[in-house]
Symmetry: C2
Subunit: 333 residues, 2 copies
């Protein structure tokens, strides 16, 4: 089934969405909010599924689904932990800075604790007070868990995944070096992230969901031009089970925890950084990676970071169309 | 007024507590949970205050207040951001590692994004799966904000503080160097924090609450022995207004955001690291700081980190007694 949250009040109103994203049905008889559904998933998921089945069969007529009216599926959450599972991407960025990447990065996942107190809806502008901060998009896959016990294994962690979606992990690149040098991780450099209109249960993904990875291309557009189409199932060094188990090593995770994949990134056919979409390659899911490639090629980055008025679109399709709806945001002030 | 949360369900049940912490009254007529109260503070705070007044006057009899029955006032929260405002402490720890502290640390606050999806109640054991992780307490002051707009000034930030309390920011010291070396900040090294039984409105603190600081001694005990009694109002380089404004520089903060002071720490009379409580000094609010002092004095740390069965108590008193009730936790498994 597919779930969305209408932008009403702090936690929004939960709706069930048809597979083709054309219609929605009020889900308040099953759960008022997505967090409420996740808090009692065993009991509430069957109620939601029954609504979903009736919407799909036409027994429930529903209303037109408009992503413009959506908040993030969880407008605020108790936890947003973002991995950096495409180690290829990390190695590349370091290479451009002529920094060695420790070997351990291939075996010990990178993950940061993100702010989760307020997310952007899929069509809300990205607030940017200062263009000099170097605003960038990061296209990623995200999963939502139910409760995960402390010390969970990868297999337990995989079983705890109840929903899958997309995220634009907005980053302020020019604030990152200063913050990382202080040693306490990201804070000001990671403002509110935006999420896809719809989160879906893994069964909606068919065989594209396997081995704890989502084997589909993540389509990223900048001002309407194709920017990236990397396959999220390729070059993902750590699958979602491994990422969740990493997060749960020293503490339990609450239902409604969001775990991000990190910026999706594919190597080129030669094992290198690949090429742009215009050149026939898989492109990139963030501007920083393209700037890195530009630096490696010609000594300096060429593509600027986001400015006010730029438009970012992130989407993923299957044979039937858009799976999660599109994140489609303009940079505002 | 003083507020607590009884340990019932995921978000607990809100109660108003008498000034002397002897009695409590159900607050569900005003707000079912503390987060619900914070979400509509303008409307709900007066209702809570009226209950508090009636409990204080005896018009409302209430029931005995038992901190053993308490969850954290916010059993889970949308944001926990912990500063490191006692820069003295940071400088000291670096000195023991023979590392220079950048001058900017005196002007640019250190802050990390902490996990907020599940907190420990004031009397709940600290789960510790592996003693080799080097478990430590960190005694801190914490404030709770209502909504803070992006780009808030220090003055706006100070006005957004609605509650004050204490926190034990549990740390796994031996996991920290590895995590910080990876550059993404703390994750596994910061398991669930524990909070005082009661959070109070700033007016309860009288003149001890001024300049965005709480001018009272933070009493820390280890296995019943006095370990620290540093004044939280002294040597706090960044007041809470500055910490909150730092957090809100690039994004707004949701009502119910918890902002920590970092480990409370006082210099000695000579400007140095001070002495233990047994030696007549202000002592320390975490074991790591004492180990640092031991290293500076004799080349190696002597005091071990927490082991199962150790007991940590953190409290703050005014002339009338305990302000927030005591955090009193045994290390468990």
């Amino acid at each position: 089934m597919k779930l969305a949250t209408l932008n009403e009040g702090r936690d929004g109103r939960l709706v069930v969405v048809s597979r083709d994203l054309s219609r929605r049905a009020d889900a308040s008889s099953a759960a008022p909010t997505l967090q409420a559904a996740l808090d009692e998933w065993e009991r509430r998921a069957p109620l939601l599924r029954s609504l979903s089945d009736r919407l799909e069969s036409g027994a429930l007529k529903g209303e037109p689904f408009d992503p413009e009216r959506c908040a993030a599926p969880l407008p605020r959450a108790y936890q947003w932990a973002d991995g950096s599972a495409y180690v290829n991407h990390v190695e590349l960025v370091r290479k451009a800075r002529k920094a060695e990447m420790p070997e351990s990065f291939w075996t010990d996942p990178l993950m940061y604790q993100g702010g989760s107190d307020g997310f952007l809806g899929p069509r809300q502008p990205i607030p940017l007070a200062d263009e000099a901060w170097g605003c960038d998009m990061e296209g990623e896959v995200v999963v939502v868990t139910r409760d995960v016990p402390l010390g969970a294994t990868r297999e337990q962690a995989l079983g705890a995944i109840v929903l899958v979606g997309l995220v634009n992990d907005v980053s302020l690149r020019n604030l990152i070096p200063g913050e990382l040098a202080k040693g306490f991780g990201f804070f000001q450099s990671k403002p509110a992230s935006a999420f896809s209109p719809v989160f879906v249960t893994p069964d909606e993904l068919g065989t594209a969901w396997r081995d704890g990875k989502l084997h589909r291309r993540l389509e990223v557009f900048l001002d309407g031009q194709p920017f990236g189409r990397a396959d999220a199932g390729v070059d993902m060094t750590f699958d979602f089970g491994t990422l969740i188990a990493h997060a749960a090593r020293t503490r339990s995770l609450c239902a409604g925890t969001l775990i991000g994949s990190g910026t999706v990134s594919n190597r080129g056919p030669d094992g290198g950084p690949g090429t742009t979409v215009a050149e026939g390659g898989a492109g990139y899911s963030c501007i920083a990676e393209l700037r890195t490639v530009e630096t490696l090629r010609s000594g300096a980055p060429k593509t600027p970071f986001l400015k006010r008025g730029n438009r970012v679109r992130i989407e993923m399709r299957d044979e039937a169309g858009s799976i999660f709806g599109a994140i489609d945001q303009v940079v505002g002030d």
